[in-house]
């Protein structure tokens, strides 16, 4: 190649580089701020959480299935049957001892061990999944704490799936439409190649409705609300009941709580140990 042609190509290359560089710099300016890394519950605004009253779930998993069905139908979640390879699920059940497997319940009664425990995205206050996403296709909403998904932006790298300590996220290994019987027009499906998970029904919340799984319950088995509102049901429940969260030691601050016991049952055995409990508490 003679000098002139080479110089021209060098110039063209540098120009192209400059043009893309400007775009990249501009794009940086639009970047939303990163999630708060310190895991302190934010007392500003709304902090949405769910309380699952495990005491109300019995070995017969009919209720749990109702919740799952409500969610998966409302959101066009594909059903690939018992195929663990392509499985997509936003909410599902595991036996209690699997859901809390780092607690080892060696002597627990069989029906308690097997109790169907609903698992879903915990919408952590300090989510590791949003920290790793290279495009902010998943992020934590400052306004209400929901860990949101942007299916237009997701590149399907599955880093968020890797980072989630709870196995809450699913990837679309193939076209989900082939496994949805009758998609509802109320909500889009996703396409093959993106990660999906529960979004706390943010589209229903925007219309003033409760999440689909919560609505499927008839006796406060699932309760949903704002933890920052001292008068909310979730807040009251968590003040009065013993509730645990999954893998609390990791610092993720999950916002799905599981009620496993009620201090009021201690009333009979050790009344002195029980703190004064307000009247008119709801219960099964």
């Amino acid at each position: 190649m003679d000098g002139n042609r080479r110089d021209f190509l060098k110039l063209a290359g540098l120009t192209a580089l400059g043009a893309t560089g400007v775009t990249a710099v501009r794009a940086t300016a639009d970047n939303a701020p990163a999630a708060d890394p310190h895991g302190e519950p934010s007392t500003d605004g709304v902090r949405l959480a769910m309380v699952i009253d495990l005491r109300k779930f019995v070995k017969d998993d009919r209720l749990a299935k109702k919740c799952i069905e409500a969610c998966h139908v409302a959101h066009n979640v594909p059903d690939f049957g018992a195929d663990p390879k392509n499985e997509v699920k936003w909410i599902w059940t595991e036996p209690f001892e699997t859901a809390f497997h780092s607690q080892e319940f060696h002597f627990i009664r069989e029906d308690l061990k097997e109790k169907p425990t609903l698992l879903l995205c915990n919408h952590c206050d300090n989510p590791p999944c949003t920290r790793v996403c290279p495009t902010e296709a998943t992020w934590k909403r400052e306004s209400d704490g929901i860990v949101m998904m942007d299916w237009h932006r997701c590149i399907g790298c599955r880093y968020c799936v890797v980072a989630c300590p709870y196995g809450s996220r699913s990837f679309n290994w193939k076209d989900p439409r082939q496994a949805i019987d009758d998609p509802t027009t109320e909500y889009p499906t996703r396409m093959r190649g993106v990660v999906e998970k529960c979004t706390f029904c943010e589209e229903r919340l925007a219309r003033g409705q409760q999440p689909a799984c919560v609505e499927a319950c008839d006796n406060d088995e699932l309760v949903f609300g704002d933890l920052n509102d001292p008068s909310s049901k979730v807040r009251q429940l968590l003040t009065e009941r013993m509730a645990i969260r999954r893998k609390p030691g990791l610092g993720t601050q999950p916002e799905v709580y599981y009620i496993i016991d009620d201090p009021r049952t201690l009333q009979e055995v050790a009344p002195a140990a029980v703190v004064e409990v307000p009247e008119g508490g709801d219960d099964a």
Binding site: P128, T135, G156, Y159, F171, G193
Partner: protein, 386 residues
């Protein structure tokens, strides 16, 4: 200079054709994967990263290893490496391109790859990995081009390339460190959550990469008039030896922490790898092979007589490369997912299309190495006239 890769002997073109056939097969499989989805791989809801990402992880190490020739030559004036640096840099270019290809074929939405640049996310290590790898590719292309074209003109390279070469040294270390950071900061995966992951990555990279470089240099010497020189080979072999010793030491450190503390969520992953868990023993034979190869390699490499004898050195280098490829390219990534976050043991094995696509990417890497080495040899007038 690129045109020098377009002329060659019958052997040259037969080799190129062979690589193109493999690449064609892989391209066809990838086309199928692009339209059907990643379901054609062995990946599943629990094992979301597998063979592709494992190859990426291994090859970042090979790419970084160019620093093991660049550093002594440019920073410490170790003249014996003079003829080797271009081979190292060209290997790095091929390795980085293979890394990028492995990422590309692993993505669910590869057409959206530019989102990583349109929406840069500094709190994500994957963003920094993209920056680091891209920068390293540019650096190596620039450095190799400038030094080779200066060599062709019979002139010393321009002064401004020196600081760029020096920059490539910490940059090489950083590409593998940031790749380790992809894994080592995840609370969800206790197998990877270890401070020693980045040092381990670097040690295994600096053993496997130079081992491959030795093998490539000897192959090139066989088919051309190029001779790296006994001293260069011996010094590289010493580097491989120390790096391998360090790597094995780091692995033993990990085993101690996991097994002595006896914390189940740390023990289980090692148990899965070496003994199998709940009937899933897929990786156990591979891991023990890796151990065997590591022992063989150390026996050969630590003994100066066998290290300096070329036939045994070749065996040693193959053993090092094989052992570390199994360690990083099979064991490390998959074991992070078994057991899964719910404590369940899950299966994974790559499928035939997955392996075909991977083989094709390796063939692309070999194609790039072939073409670039051909250019270097032509420039130096060292092609064998047949």
């Amino acid at each position: 200079m690129l045109e020098k890769a377009l002329t060659g002997s019958r052997t040259y073109w037969t080799w190129i054709f062979f690589l193109l056939v493999i690449i064609g097969a892989g391209a066809a499989c990838w086309y199928w994967q692009f339209h059907t989805g990643l379901t054609i791989t062995g990946l599943s809801r629990d094992v979301v990263w597998g063979f592709y990402i494992a190859q990426f992880t291994f090859l970042v190490g090979v790419a970084a290893s160019a620093v093991m020739v660049v550093l002594p030559y440019y920073l410490h004036n170790y003249k014996a490496f003079g003829k080797m640096t271009i081979l190292g840099e060209f290997l790095a270019i091929a390795a980085v391109i293979m890394c990028m290809l492995f990422i590309f074929v692993d993505m669910g939405m590869p057409i959206r790859i530019f989102n990583v640049f349109l929406h840069p996310t500094p709190h994500s290590m994957m963003f920094w990995d993209t920056v680091a790898l891209g920068g390293y590719l540019v650096l190596n292309i620039l450095i190799s081009r400038v030094s080779l074209s200066s060599e062709r003109r019979g002139e010393p390279p321009p002064k401004w390339i020196k600081p760029i070469i020096i920059l490539s040294i910490p940059w090489a270390v950083s590409i593998h460190t940031v790749t380790a950071f992809l894994y080592a900061g995840l609370a969800a995966r206790p197998f990877w959550l270890t401070a020693i992951l980045a040092p381990r990555f670097l040690a295994s990279a600096f053993a496997a990469g130079p081992a491959l470089l030795i093998l490539l240099a000897l192959v090139v010497r066989r088919i051309s008039n190029f001779d790296p020189g006994k001293e260069a080979i011996n010094k590289l072999a010493e580097i491989v030896t120390y790096a391998m010793i360090l790597n094995v030491f780091f692995v033993l450190m990990e085993l101690f922490t996991a097994l002595y503390s006896d914390i189940p969520e740390h023990v289980y992953h090692f148990q899965f790898l070496f003994l199998g868990l709940e009937g899933n023993t897929t990786l156990a034979p591979w891991m023990w092979l890796s151990v065997l190869l590591a022992v063989v390699s150390l026996v050969i490499l630590i003994n100066p007589v066998t290290r300096r004898t070329e036939t045994t050195l070749v065996v040693g280098c193959i053993a090092v490369f094989g052992s570390l490829w199994i360690d990083k390219g099979l064991g490390m990534v998959i074991a992070g997912f078994v057991p899964n976050p719910l404590g369940e043991v899950v299966q994974y094995a790559p499928t035939a299309p997955e392996l075909t696509i991977s083989l094709a990417i390796y063939a692309i890497g070999l194609l790039i190495v072939t073409g670039l080495y051909k250019i270097a040899l032509e420039v130096r007038g060292q092609m064998r006239t047949e």
